[in-house]
Each structure stands twice: as C-alpha cells, then as structure tokens.
Symmetry: C2
Subunit: 283 residues, 2 copies
C-alpha cells in the first residue's frame, strides 16, 4: 500500500481519532485520510503536497469526496481497498462510486448486504443508496382458466367467458384483454411474443403470490401488489439484466421514493431470480 | 385502404357523428371506428366479426385502445395513417404508440409540434405526453478565468485563486473543483475526458445564458437555471442521442412532473442542438 507516513506524537493523536494504520513509531495514512487531515489542519501536512501524491490514482477524487463527507457527518472510517468501513451509531460498508459509471446486479449482490453506495455526481455532491437483499412475498393464490382467445398485436383479447379473470387482465365490458406476460402465465403454450427475462421475473413474482401489473406509469417494468388490487402497490420492480447507468438507477429510486414504494432490482443467479432493494438515505 | 362499409341510413347517422369517409351511398369505416361502433352499439355491426377483420394488422390493439379512449373523452376523430386528428375544444394530432417500443428525437420532431403521444402500456392503460419544441434562454453572461489547475479522476481541482468561479464549480474552502464539462467550457484545450454529445449540449445551454449543473439527483444529465443558483432550477435536460425506451421517458417525465420542472430532450440536427419539451397531460 502506498501511504503517507507521519511519526511521533502526531501519529498518536491521529490514531486516537481513528486515522491510519500503526507501523511502529509511525502511522501509515491512506491518501484520502492524509488529504482530509491536511484540509482540516488536524496535523501538520501540506494540502498541495498530499494532493499531488494522492491525485495520481484514477478514482482518488471520488474516494476523497466521499471520505470527507462521511467524516464531516461524524463517522469514524477504516479505509479498505474498494470501500470504507464507517462507524457512527452503526457500522456500515460504504462503496464510493462515480455517478457517470454503470453497475451490475451481480456486483451489488456480491458485496455484504446491506451496504451503502455513495454516488458522486459531476458537481461532487454525494447521494447515498442503501442496498439490501429482498424476498418479496404475497398472499394471492388464484386459479384462472380462460377459453377462446385471440392474440392481437401486443396483447391477447378475450371476446367471451372472461368474467373470472381474478387479478389478471382488464375487463372492458364487451371484451377483455391480457398482457402477453399474463397470457403466457395462464396458458403456457400460447404463441405470444415475450421478453424471456422479463417473463421470468413476472413468473417468479406471481409464483410468490404477488399481483403483478404494468409499471409503465412509474417507468419500471412492474408494479406489484401484496394482497389485492384494492390496496396501493408496494413494490416497483425493475428487471436488471445488464449493468445499468447509475443515472438511470437514480431516476428509478427518485420515482419510487416520491410515491412511497419500494424499488426492487430483479437479477438472475443461474436459474434463480434474486431481488435487491435500493432506497435513498441520508447517512 | 381496407375498410368496413356501411350503407344507407346508418351511414348518414354515423357520418353526422364524425365517423368514416363518404363513398356515394356508403360510409367507409376504419377498423378502429367500426370496432368502436360495434362495441358501443352505435350501429348494427357485430363486434366479433369486426374484431377478426381488424386484428390482422400488427398495431391494431394500440390504435383501437387509444381511439376508444379519446372517443370516450368526447373527441371527434379523423383517422390518419399514423395518427388521429382529434378535436374537442382544440384540435390536436395524437400518435398512438406501444409502451414497450423506442422512439427517437428525430421521429418526434419530424411530426407537427405540438403533438400528443398516446402511449399504451401492457395493461392497456394510456398515458398522454404533450411534445413541443422548446427554445430555452437564460440571462447569465459570465467571464470566468482560472489559473493553475490539476486534472484528477473525473474532475478538475483548483488549489488556489478560485474565489471568482461565478456559477461554475464548487468552492470547498481549501480547494475548489469543476466538472470536466465546466473545465472544458472555460479552458478549451484542457485535457479532460468528456462525452462529446453531452458536452455539445452543455456548451449550447451555457451559450444560451443558462446555468448548467448536474442532473444526477433527478436521473437526467443536467438541471438548468435561468437567472441564478438562488432560484429553483427550471429545466431538466436529457441528452437523447439514440432512440430511447418509452419506459425510460416515462420515468423522466414522472420525475420532472414531481419536482415541477420542465423536461427537455436535447437532440442533434446536423450542427445544431435542438430541444423538445415533454410533459404529462390529461387530454
């Protein structure tokens, strides 16, 4: 590890404040620590000198801005390779990341859960997202059968015997219609076009006893109800096959937060569909 | 045009209600018209029979659902090849489109402006977006010069002489930093990594006298101020290089609506940056 050493009495003082790693009489400071110490005048380090050393690594700016923000919020921080172990009233791993990058479902769930993503935007402002595992479960068990149907465009129409669709489809009076996902769930071999990943998530959610409807109005794949359509939907579910731009994630969390729903990211672990919840927090 | 003919007295009655195109003694009805008439029992047409004819075209479901929704809202409609010319207290072109598709900036601005996009989701629910041209203009003229700088990671740091940055960058006390877009705007030949399309929009907005800041918290590229940073930002700007999923657009409009800002889509017409505003409406 490339570090900035400080020795003697200053080392003791800094160590007592939670900085650095002890090496005999000296303290080995990570770049973000040393720069923070220089900025705040906690010990006698020259800001510009430390800056020139520290700024050689590509993600230094992002790491430093998160480090200093957390310190200013009263966290005591241990610097790790790709995250900060930060402690205040609780202990949590914070992963600093640049807002212009992408992240995958796999990366998020390979980390300890829960953890916090600290996203640094162009302006250096930081948005914090709590990422946790989720195991959504519903209470709806339905058996729906349908008779004659017509596949037309991107949905399936029923012209008769559609009085007992339960939570599936939409009854328009003279006719009813189902989305292609709904139709496929009820009739396994129906010849409709579906996106196979989106359908896998649809199926998994329905199998969990949840009611799954279009999330279009919220800009996500699905909105999900736990008990009945009479209540508000609890979840917004985004199918996350590939890595997504953090900007897109930010937009999704913002919408979910605004309507007080939980945003779930659905990913794939082999045969299994796995869920992560992401929410905006103030640390 | 493949149409459904209805003749004699019924034809007169239907024509008086704004349906069809006259052909001698008969009226030639578009499929969505005929199906709507059958559904509502306005004339003696068999719903199933019309449905079977109409449902052969791929986008029939989307067209029919929008047609019937607008009719039920009291619009009188002329059916055109790719849109509905609809009239109530005003006359407007409505473009029906499937929520699972993509749309490009070019397509949107090739249509008459303003127009309304009628987006049909999986459930058959329709969301209406008013699309109009936009010509954002600000009142800020600044001359900012900076001295020594350090490019570090994804931003530019200033360690001294950063007292007069105006609306650029962020002054952190001991140091200041600029985003790469800001730095490039101030110092043309600075060696920073930028996305050239995003920068073109940044530059155009600044040249228009607007203050441009990160839109990350709203999930867009930029938030834009007209007069000063003391006021609320007026616009959220999304750079739209390629066609976007309507779902993504829905999310963007939702966020903008929630915070009472105007969503602008920035596209490229040769050398020019052109803007469209998109807002959610109830027709």
């Amino acid at each position: 590890m490339s570090c900035i050493e400080i020795c003697g009495k200053s080392a003791d003082k800094l160590q007592s404040k939670g900085f650095g790693v002890r090496r005999g009489n000296c303290l080995c400071l990570h770049h973000e620590e040393a720069l923070y110490i220089a900025e705040k005048g906690i010990a006698d380090l020259d800001f510009e000198e430390v800056f020139l050393k520290a700024s050689k690594s590509g993600d230094f700016d992002v790491r430093f801005l998160v480090y200093r923000d957390l310190r200013s919020r009263g966290y005591v921080i241990k610097v790790k390779r790709d995250h900060f172990q930060a402690r205040k009233s609780y202990s949590m791993k914070f992963y600093p990341i640049n807002g212009s990058s992408r992240i995958s479902h796999e990366t998020l769930r390979a980390r300890d859960l829960p953890h916090i993503m600290a996203v640094v935007d162009e302006e250096g402002d930081i948005t914090y997202y709590l990422v946790d595992s989720a195991d959504p479960a519903g209470e709806v068990r339905e058996r729906v059968t349908i008779g004659e149907y017509k596949v037309a465009g991107s949905r399936v129409f029923l012209l008769k015997n559609f009085e007992h669709l339960g939570t599936f489809g939409k009854n328009e009076g003279v006719f009813a219609h189902l989305s292609n996902n709904e139709a496929r769930y009820i009739i396994k071999d129906i010849p409709v076009e579906i996106d196979s990943d989106t359908y896998r998530v649809y199926q998994d959610l329905r199998d969990r006893g949840l009611i799954v409807k279009s999330g279009f109005k919220y800009g996500t794949h699905f909105r999900v109800y736990v008990k009945s359509l009479e209540e508000h939907s609890k979840y917004l579910v985004q199918v996350m096959k590939n890595a997504v731009h953090l900007e897109e994630l930010s937009r999704g969390v913002r919408v979910a937060h605004g309507v007080r729903k939980e945003l779930l990211l659905a990913g794939f672990d082999g045969d299994r569909v796995v869920y992560l919840s992401v929410s905006w927090i103030r640390p």
